[in-house]
Amino acid sequence: MNNVWVFIEQNHGKLQPIGLELLSECRRKLDASVQISAVYLGQSLQVKDIDAMTFCGADEIIYTVDEKLAVYDTHYYAKAITNLMKDTRPDVFLIGSTLEGRDLAPRVSARLNTGLTADATLLEFEQSDKLLLLATRPALGGNLFATIICENTIPQMATIRPSIFKIEEDKTRTSKLKAVPFECESESKVKVLSSEKLTHKKVELNKAQVIVAGGRGVSNMFPVLKDIANLIGGEVAASRAVVDANIEQKDRLVGQTGTTVHPKVYFASGISGAIQHISGMDKSELIIAVNTDPNALIFDVADVSIIADAKQVLPLVKEELKAILSYK
């Protein structure tokens, strides 16, 4: 039977969404003849997490729990994974392209002497007597895409970018559990001396990667804009009209007389798009605009143009983001 293993990342005992995203995507792309296994390492495994993995598509949950696996450590995790593959290797082994996944996956691929595709954004499978993984990744700044295969060694490994695939649960699914003891004779040479939590720092607008901006049309909605910005780790910006009305400070102003910004995402609500504003933000990588006026100039530069009432849309966006974040 062909099989696919998915590494399930946890952070201080909390399942990270990427593992469930990968299970869901594999279940969608593969028929029932392929067994999908969730691979969990940690200090303990909770029933609700077993359920989550099962509902998202795992036929089997292979797990190793040990004190040494409580927090991620390259040495212990690579050892635990290769222990699981001592007798039989899966055809495919997928890991999230998170900081942890990108530390673990190359270490494991080198130990198993097999191929690894980095940071894929599309997964396809060819099923014959053999299961072939086709992993596609953006290259050179995202203009070019390359589809990578690994035909002669197993497991065919890939790291996959988070938040690409939708989590989909089917609560009628069942799975079997397989516990594997942790065996590691050597000690890790890396020791954690201390850790400090990252707190959300206020960044200067021109350095922000995500900007949530509002104009006259949402001048009473800035508390909601701030909530959305906090949820996604972005910054709030404003148009001239809002700053002139003393609703936001001058340091939040985008445009000719304010700051010129070039974030990865510029989400503009209720901004008509006067040229002086547009000249300060049109180099943003992705511009999402919501406005009730179909003739708003902002739509000329927007990548996503939505005609709707931003005052109604914003509270709903906030709720949607909160719902997704509760997975974390």
Partner: protein, 264 residues
């Protein structure tokens, strides 16, 4: 402390364009640069040498044209530069590249190996950890700071998604660095003058003890099956939507960027 820095010469990707007819890269006129993450590693190594003494060597694999990059690094004060270049190496994927690099590194003396977190032309972040595995030494990736050296213990800081960790790790170790860790120094007249005689050491297949079936295009476990260019999207059409649908769509668009901030 003897330090080796792994560097790669890369095309300046901000200048790269794709020929829409042939789906290939237009390389003509594109400048080659030292991969920014690697350059920060060179700078870190030079700073450590100034603090604790020792040597800094640079190792790169690539075509002969990479020699000019190494000459430039001599001008920054590096002690020795090695260029691993051979037609047999061409087309190597990360596993094969790491096989070649580690087989050479085994012949050198080192306490610390610094590699850039990832190269801007590949973005894989794989060669560092794979080399560490082949050398059977620990790794610390995505380093934000080297704090101190206490005897045979290196104290470093590393960022995760939610924390900054202070770690101690026993030498020898491989670490990977980020471009914003250091501002690279300029070449200075003293180093340029005093290093003009220094030669780049060329290492070819015959100098190494590797199975030829493990390297190059043929020896690489991964293969590129196809490449294609993303269709250029016109600025979008205006869509009339209910607030509910609009909110769902916007959330879907915003969600992937939540990580960006966390990784800064």
């Amino acid at each position: 402390m003897d330090i080796i820095v792994l560097v790669k010469q890369v095309p300046d990707t901000t200048e790269i364009k794709i020929d829409k007819e042939t789906n290939t890269l237009i390389r003509a006129g594109v400048q080659s640069i030292v991969n920014p993450n690697d350059l920060a590693g060179v700078e870190e190594a030079l700073k450590l040498k100034a603090r604790y003494g020792g040597t800094v060597s640079v190792v790169t694999m690539g075509p002969m044209q990479a020699e000019s990059m190494l000459v430039e690094l001599y001008g920054r004060g590096v002690d020795a530069c090695y260029l691993l270049s051979d037609r047999a190496f061409a087309g190597s994927d990360t596993w094969a590249t790491s096989t070649i690099l580690s087989s050479f590194l085994k012949t050198l003396k080192y306490d610390l190996i610094i590699a850039g977190y990832q190269a801007i032309d590949g973005d894989t972040a794989q060669v560092g950890p794979q080399v560490a595995e082949f050398l059977n030494i620990p790794q610390v990736t995505y380093l934000s700071e080297i704090v101190a050296l206490n005897g045979r213990e290196l104290i470093v800081k590393k960022r995760t998604d939610s924390e900054i960790l202070t770690l101690s790790v026993e030498l020898p170790v491989l670490v990977t660095t980020l471009a914003d860790m250091n501002k690279p120094r300029y070449m200075n007249a003293w180093d340029i003058y005093h290093n003009t005689d220094k030669k780049v050491h060329l290492v070819t297949f015959n100098d190494l003890n590797i199975d030829p079936s493990h390297i190059g295009l043929k020896g690489s476990p991964t293969k590129v099956k196809k490449t294609y260019v993303k269709q250029v999207q016109a600025k979008s059409e205006k869509v009339v939507m209910t607030p509910e649908d609009a909110a769902k769509w916007i959330t879907k668009l915003l969600y992937p960027y939540m990580e960006v901030k966390n990784h800064e």
